[in-house]
């Protein structure tokens, strides 16, 4: 079927269509009030994703923590009253408001407490995840938050206060 038009003719006519539509495009663009300059005058403001990658916190399963509790530092993101009402033994209270970045003092407090251990942020799932990412972005290594659906209060079972 391809042989009904010779390749040279095919290419010539295709080029003709492209040239004609290009000419119409340029004419219409020149005539419209919101015409684009042929060459952009400045770089386009492209939306780019926030840099995450290596600095991001990672998800961790509850089982991993339950198996080796000594290996983890629990950082509790809830309000101080909630923390006082009951928390995991040895947990560090870092109340967090997602509207404000975690302060340098809080980061240093976590850094001083964590030692060789790994940080796991608990509390309201979204808040915990945001604090974990905030801590990781501020330069803390090995920061985790619980996988979606995991109920951190299970950890209270060992030694609830």
């Amino acid at each position: 079927m391809l042989s009904t038009v010779s390749p040279a003719r095919l290419l010539l006519r295709s080029a003709l269509i492209a040239a004609a539509s290009g000419a119409v495009a340029l004419a219409v663009n020149a005539g419209r009030p919101d015409s684009l300059p042929l060459v952009a005058e400045s770089e386009y403001e492209i939306y780019e994703d926030c840099p995450e990658g290596e600095e991001s916190a990672t998800e961790i399963a509850l089982d991993e923590i339950a198996e080796n509790p000594a290996y983890f530092l629990i950082v509790d993101s809830r309000e101080p009253e909630e923390f006082e009402a009951g928390h995991v033994e040895g947990a560090l209270s870092v109340p967090y408001d997602p509207l404000f970045p975690v302060s340098e003092e809080e980061v240093e407090r976590v850094r001083a407490a964590v030692g060789e251990r790994v940080v796991v942020v608990v509390g309201d799932p979204l808040t915990a995840r945001l604090l974990a990412n905030d801590l990781a972005t501020q330069g803390l290594d090995w920061v985790n938050y619980l996988e979606e659906g995991a109920e951190w209060r299970v950890l209270l079972g060992a030694d609830p206060r």
């Binding site: 079927m1 391809l2 684009l36 060459v39």
Partner: protein, 172 residues
Amino acid sequence: MAGPPRGGPALAVAAALRRDKVLALAGVPVRLYLGGLFVWASVYKIREPYEFALNIATYQILPLELVNVFAIALPWLELATGVMLILGLWTKENALLLAGMMAMFTAALGIALSRGYQMNCGCFSSEKAAEEIGRGTFVRDIAWMALAIYTLLFDDGRYGVDGLLRKERRHA
């Protein structure tokens, strides 16, 4: 013992012509679909040239000097090929252009995906409902390219304006 095929060359030619006819007939809905798709795709790009230019720039493939030229010219080429495909006028030429454009779009999409960009396709609309690129859009583009190649190979426009013009030429 098997002998030569019965009927000889005349029957073989008739069978080939019948096959060509069936393939060309099957190509009509394909051509109409692709034509309609490209006309539809061109509408928003012609209406919103700045938005389309921004879409092109977001792929970060073309140098800045070429972004606007593409944003201005490409939609009109899409419109022209779409309309001419629907009419069945210069069918193979337009199928060739359409296959070329699909190859270009698929390559751009592949590059964006390999770089991990999270962005809108920019294929039909840049509104909120616009689709984010992914493996699905990539596979879809390959399928459309395959349809364009089918049209290029098997549809000679006999059931469109091309066919009418050929008949007229024969009668003249």
